[in-house]
Structure formats: C-alpha cells, structure tokens
C-alpha cells in the first residue's frame, strides 16, 4: 500500500505505492525480479536527490494521480524558483 522513498540527506517520504508507480524507474525498482534490495523492503534510496527536490517529486505524484482522468479543472503546479533545474534532473531520471 505504501512505499518509502529516501532522499540523499536521509529524509524518508512515505507515499502510496500507486502514486510512486507514476515513475517508470521506481516501478521497475520496486517490482523487478529480486535483484534489487528494494523489492523486499518496499524502499527506494536516491543517493543523488536531496529532500527539497524529492518532496516536490512526491507532491507531483499526488498532483498527477489526482487530476489525470478527472473532470476537475487542473490547477497550476507551483515550483519555487530555486529548484527547477535540480527538479528537472530528478524528473528526467525518474521519467515523470
């Protein structure tokens, strides 16, 4: 039901599994055949993504699940001016 995403600075983000599966690579890491340790513990560690970026990624997961295939108006997803470049790199890695 829930998985744990761990940032490079040790912050743990607990999100719904369905939300985390928005990211193809995360999905692969969580459901791959036994090679990845994450498969057993439902945890993924990101050694290159700091918490300020990973927190925003988690917010995006929620945003995406909430407004995909919904008739509600899609509000703006705000990104603070300091992080877009790092966030882009993380999003690129996570393919989301």
């Amino acid at each position: 039901m829930y998985v744990k995403l761990i940032s490079s600075d040790g912050c743990e983000f607990i999100v719904k599994r369905e939300h985390a599966l928005t990211s193809g690579p995360v999905k692969t890491m969580l459901s791959g055949p036994g090679q990845f340790a994450e498969n057993k513990t439902n945890e993924v560690s990101f050694r290159e993504i700091p918490s300020r970026v990973l927190s925003k990624v988690c917010m995006y997961f929620t945003y995406k699940i909430q407004y995909t295939n919904s008739s509600k108006e899609i509000p703006e997803f705000r990104i603070a001016p300091e992080i877009p470049l790092e966030l882009l790199m993380a999003a690129n890695f996570l393919d989301c």
Binding site: K64, P81, A91
Partner: protein, 407 residues
C-alpha cells in the same frame, strides 16, 4: 483522428446582409472575467465569461425556454449590483477588425513597472477593451461601464491586430495595413510613443512575449519580425514561410513562437535564435513552394498557444480546427468549423473560442492533460532564461536539448 466532445455553441444574433458580418476577432480578458467578439456590422459584444459558461452547460441539459428564463433573471439581478460584470454591446461606428483586452494588473510576475495614473482612477483595477477599426482609428472602451475612453488616430489603414503588453503597463501595440506598427501609452492619455517601420506590406498580426521584452509582428510577403521592446529596434527577421504570415503567438514561457501562414503551415520557432523547431502541416503531401505561395485552398488563418505550453490550436480553410501537441506530428483532436477566421484560448486554457465569417463564435473544450514534471520544470526555467543562457547550463546534453525544445 478523434472528435472533440463538449462542443458548445453560442451563435450571435442573426443579421441579413451578406458581408460586414465577419467576426475577425475574439478575445478573453486576462483575468478571465469577460469574453468579447466582433459581431460584425460594427458592433462588439462583451459578455461576462462565467455566466456564459454556465449558460452553455445548461443549454446542454435543459430546453430553450428554461435558458431564456435564466437570461431574464440575470438582467433583473444585475440591476442593483455595481460589481457584477454586465453584458455590453458596443457600437464602434466602423467595421471592427481587431480587439484586445488590457489590464492594469500584470498577468504574471515579470518586469517591475512603475505605474502612475493620470486619467484613470487610483487604486482601481482598470480593464480596457481596445477596438481596431476599418478606418485606422482605435477606440478604447472601459469594460465595466461600456463607455468610450480614448480615440487613437494615426494609422491610415485598417488596424488588423492589437495587443497589450502583459505586464500591466497598458502599453498597446497596433498592427496595420499601412505597413507600420504603432506603440501607444494608454496611461499617458494614449500618447503614441513609437512607430515601428520595416514591413514592406500589410501587417497582419502582432504578439508580445510573456515577459513583455519582445514583440513579434507578421505580415504579407512572408514577413515575420521580432522587435526589442526596450529599445524599439528590430532584433531579427525569421525566414521560412512561403506566403503571407497571418497569425502569431508566443508560448506561455516565451521559449516558443508559433506562426500561421497561407502557405498551409504553422511553424514553431525558437525566438531567441531564429531556428525553426517544429512544423505542422495542413496539407499532405506537403506542397511545393510554388503551390504553397499561391491559392492552395488550405490557408491557415489563426494559431493560438494553450496555457499549458504543450498544445496549440490552428484554424484552416479546409474547415477544420485542429489541436496539436508540440511533441507529436499529428493533431490530437480535430473538429469541423466552416469559415473560421480567428481563435483564442480562454484565460485558464480550458476552452477554445473560434470566430467565423457569419459573426458567430463557437467554443470547444480543450484536451485536458496533466503535463509531465519535466515539462513543468522546463517552463519554469524558460520563463526566465533565453536559449543562449540555457546552452551554458552544466547539464547533460539530452537535458539541454529538452530544455531548448529540440527533442
């Protein structure tokens, strides 16, 4: 491909005459409060947009008598309330070719503008409607009261397009068949600040970049020009179209410029470098330059960027409206529309309005889509960074290409 659902109809009042009915222009107010269109026969109709939307939704489920009751009750309730937006019909006295809403409230956080009011009231959000007429005159109206505020006289020919700077400075640019563009300062009683010369032929359309630093003007004889709006000099000419260029629009992050031409194509350019990034054709196979440069029955009349920066809408003479995604070669949705002349997305991007030859306006629900996080970051970065700066970023080349919209 697939058809749009949620097609909403709002026909204008019927007129008998054959010509003079054209709806050359439609516009939404920057804050989404009003919608205006030129009804033909020299009038412009202004409707409060939220009421308009409510009427559409009800038209779909209830019958006509109920909706006329609604109209009546709206008029009654409007009586005593000053702040509620009201419907207006404005008689401009001449054929209306262009419309633009101007607001003293900046659309986005862009350049800092020191606003000092002379004629207009302090502390009040001013919403203006500029109308460009057949004679070359431009009339400025107050949207809330429907009153005429200013008369700008200088163009000698049809004012084909009008656009306000999005930074709330109430700078208005007009594009005319007299081959010039003029820059007016509406805070300074409509003082004409500058004449932009360079076009050799009719100027069809103009558009400001979202940060108000650049203006694009397009016109006959394949012209696409970019102007620096701090110094009022021409930055560059964009070459590529084979026929008259009739419409232009910037993406919401200012990183892309879309132009529509009678050569059957819409081009997406990088306005910072002048390179063509994408091409959307309306004729297959693509026409040869000679065919493209003539009467090919597939003139593209209008193009508009959606607010998510991912979709554009185009109107062409083959009686179709097309919605495109900028990362795909084929339209994602199409809808039939005869004699479409102009189109515009609503302020929140949820509706596309298109005006036709007989003075009507048609509305479609736009394709709803949650953008990828990568695209959201890209827009956030490109809003403040031109392509040249992007090239200097310490990121892998794949990311650089993505940021430059070159994927």
């Amino acid at each position: 491909r697939s058809r749009t659902i949620g097609e909403l109809l709002a026909p204008a009042a019927p007129f008998d005459k054959k010509c003079g009915r054209e709806n050359w222009t439609v516009a939404f107010a920057p804050d989404g409060s009003y919608f205006a269109w030129s009804q033909g026969h020299r009038t412009v109709k202004l409707v409060p947009w939220s009421q308009c939307l409510k009427n559409f939704l009800l038209h779909g489920t209830k019958n006509i008598t109920n909706s006329s009751n609604l109209r009546l009750s709206r008029q009654n309730s409007d009586g005593g309330q000053k702040n509620k937006p009201r419907e207006h019909i404005i008689d401009c006295g001449d054929i209306v070719w262009s419309l633009a809403f101007g607001s003293s409230v900046p659309e986005k956080q862009s350049r800092c503008v020191n606003i000092e009011w002379h004629r207009f009231r302090f502390g009040q959000d001013q919403l203006l409607l500029a109308t460009g007429l057949n004679s070359g005159r431009i009339k400025i109206w107050d949207v809330y009261t429907g009153k005429l505020l200013l008369n700008l006289v200088d163009h000698t020919e049809v004012v084909r397009d009008l656009t306000f700077a999005p930074d709330g400075s109430l700078i208005l640019v007009s594009a005319s068949r007299d081959k010039t563009l003029r820059v007016w300062d509406l805070k300074d009683d409509g003082n004409m600040m500058k004449v932009l010369r360079g076009h050799q032929n009719w100027v069809y359309s103009c558009a400001f970049s979202p940060d108000s630093s650049m203006l694009c003007s397009v016109g006959a004889s394949k012209a696409v020009f970019l102007w620096n709006m701090d110094k009022y000099t021409m930055i560059r000419k964009l070459e590529g179209h084979h026929h008259d260029v009739v419409a232009c629009d910037f993406s919401p992050d200012g990183a892309l410029l879309a132009t529509a031409s009678y050569d059957t194509r819409v081009y997406i350019w990088d306005p910072h470098t002048g390179a063509i990034l994408m091409e959307f054709g309306h004729l297959f196979p693509p026409p040869t330059p000679i065919f493209a440069g003539g009467a090919n029955d597939r003139w593209v009349r209008s193009v508009s960027f959606s607010h998510d920066g991912l979709h554009i809408a185009s109107l062409a003479d083959d009686k179709m409206v097309r919605f495109w995604r900028i990362d795909e070669d084929y339209p994602v949705q199409v809808a039939p529309l005869s004699n479409g002349l102009c189109c515009a997305f609503s302020t929140d991007g949820s509706v596309l309005a298109a005006g036709t030859h007989d003075g009507s306006v048609y509305f479609w629900a736009t394709p709803r889509h949650v953008p990828s996080l990568q695209h959201l970051c890209r827009m956030s970065i490109r809003r403040v960074m031109p392509t040249q700066e992007v090239q200097e970023l310490p990121v892998p080349s794949k990311v650089l290409e993505f940021l430059s919209y070159r994927v």
